[in-house]
Every structure is written in C-alpha cells, then in structure tokens.
Assembly symmetry: C2
Homo-oligomer: 201 residues x 2
C-alpha cells in the first residue's frame, strides 16, 4: 500500500492517484480539502488551524488529535502510524516553508525510517543502503552520508567518483548531473541520503 | 570586521549597515546590484548568470571567478575567503530556494566553520560549544546535535529540559518557545546547532 503524507507546504502539483491512502498532517489536512483532495486520515495537534477549521477537518475524515505537549512532532507521529500500515510512505511537501527547522527535523526521521521518501514538485529525497540506478527524469543528484559511506562510486554522472569515503557533513557530492540512464551509484557500507532535483530556473 | 555573504535567495530585508564587508556569492552578486547594494567582492563560477550579467558584476566590484569544475561549492570557497579575513561571518540567505540540497550543503559547512552564522528574514542559524542566553526577539528555538551534546539543560523555555543527551538525528528539541530573557542553554560537551525563528503565519 502506497501512503502519502500531505504537509502544509505541499503544492498539489504531483499526481496523487498513485496513492492508496492519504494522511493530512495538521494544517496539511485543511489544505487538502481546500484543494478538493480527500484524505483518509488527519493527524496533528491542530494548533496551526482554528477551531472552525478543525471542525471542518473532523467532518471530512477520521481524525487523530495529538496532545500539543509531546515529544514527537506531528510529522513523526504521522509517520509512526503510516509505517505500521505500510513500508511505502512518501512525505508530500515538508521541504520548503519559512520554518526551516521543520525540514531538518524531517531529515532526522530518515534515521528511524530509512524507507521514507520526501517529495515535492522539484525534489525527491530518500536514502539507500544498497546500489541503485537513478531515474534520469531528474537533472541533479546530491549525495550526503547519514553514516559514513565507504567506497562510494558514481558512474554515468557528469562528475564520476571512484572508491570515495563520504563522511558526515561532507558536501563534496552536491549537484552532480545524471548523464546516462545506465548510471550506477554503488558503495560498500553506510547509509546514503540522495536528493534528486530539477533545475531551479 | 563583520562580513556578510549575500546568497541568491536573500530578500534584502535585514539592515546591512552593520556589515563592514559584503561578498556576493555567484548570482547573489547580481541580485545585490539589482537591489542597489554595493558588494566589495563577488565570488563564484557564475554559471547561474549570463555573460552580460557577469560583465555588469565585473564593472561594479572585484571578482574572483572560480572554475565551474571544482570540489568546493561557490559558497564554501566564499566562506574560506571570508574566514581568512575575519571570524565574524554571516551568510545572508542560503536557507530557502528550490534546490534544497544547497541548504544541506550549507549546514555541512558548520563542521569546518563553527563560527558561521546563517540568517534570513525569519531565521538565524548558528552553533555553539559553550552555554548561551538566546535573544527573545525570536519566538522559537530548535536544537540539533552536530556531535553528541551531553547533559543539555534548557531554562526559561516553554519546555524545560534537564541533563538530556542529545544525539545526532534526534529532533526532540524542535520548536521550543523562548519565554524569558533570562533563559539559559547549557551543556557539558558537544557541538549544538541552534535555529532561531519567528512565526510563519
């Protein structure tokens, strides 16, 4: 089952028909309705919506209301729920927005949920433990280590790389270009964060 | 000497009179001129501006033109130059923008330049090795470990915390509220990333 989490900065510019189950995270649930999208479930403390808006959300779908004083973010709670149902979970949005700390908190979630994907109209973020070929529908690929990635090799990219040990906080592998559909990202061990993106012009 | 690095997503909504030396990073230099701001130096490979725009930049200020095929990002090169001149360096912008991988690359720079500050109209990002009181002109404070932060204590915040070991990828300390000007962030060891932000409504 393919699950999508709708975040409040999501622009509804990705085809949602592929998803079997949609979860609106806090204000994301309201924004879904405003875009005529039905969500199967809304999760949040809903401190970012008014009382009337919450009533509207409750009329439209099942709601799990979290205590605003909690250790997990709304997103982390929604993910916990989603990964109980399926291993195929995509966060829709959660990248832009003025409160950039939320994006960092979302990146932290990869440690607990390495199968998570984060997607918006310009970017796809995910992490891998095994070699992969990247889809050429994206122009740029960036690679960061979530823990040390041993012997990283990049083939079929503008800048090829052989047996490089990528450490945490190393930004060497930012903005490479995917040249060839027969490309290959391989490494011996570690957890590799990949960000695919398109041109920003 | 207080140095400001103008990034291409900077909105020119911060008073720049405090800065003694401004560096335009790649397209940031062009955007400075378009906002009638004089930069002392422009650094970049300038692959994000046209030939004519580069000529305009060169007419207005000293330029260091980097080879587009390089291991460091334009920003990392500009920072290297800036920290040779001063320990007081602020990146202006570098937070928003569609290419979110650039923001992650900017965060990676804290490991090499722990004195760096990143600022835009809504957020101030910096890291500390010693206790600090936070300015109450910001509403929210978020804390992430760049390496394990031992015995983190938060006083004068909405959610107080005592002797918590904050690990990498732990998002427990996101979006705390600064309640009191006599607040205190203290810890025994580690490198703590702090993001101060205002409301996004």
């Amino acid at each position: 089952m393919k699950i999508g989490l709708i975040m409040q900065d999501f622009k509804f510019n990705i085809n949602l028909n592929d998803f079997d189950f949609l979860i609106g995270v806090d204000r994301g649930a309201l924004i879904a309705y405003q875009n005529n999208i039905y969500v199967n479930l809304a999760i949040g403390d809903f401190d970012s919506v008014t009382k009337d808006e919450l009533i509207l959300i409750q009329e439209k779908s099942k709601v799990i209301k979290l205590n605003p004083i909690k250790d997990l973010t709304d997103t982390a709670d929604a993910l916990k729920y989603a990964f109980k149902l399926s291993n195929d979970v995509t966060m829709l949005g959660g990248i832009e927005g003025k409160r950039i700390e939320h994006f960092i908190a979302n990146l932290c979630l990869f440690k607990e949920y390495p199968l998570l994907k984060i997607e918006n109209e310009n970017s796809l973020i995910f992490c891998i433990k095994k070699p992969i070929r990247l889809p050429i529908k994206y122009k740029f690929a960036s690679f960061f280590a979530l823990n040390t990635v041993k012997s990283l090799c990049l083939k079929g990219f503008k800048y090829e790389l052989a047996n490089y040990d990528l450490e945490l906080y190393d930004s060497l592998c930012i903005s490479n270009e995917i040249i060839c559909c027969d490309n290959l990202v391989s490494f011996k061990e570690g957890l590799l964060l990949i960000i695919l993106s398109n041109d920003d012009h």
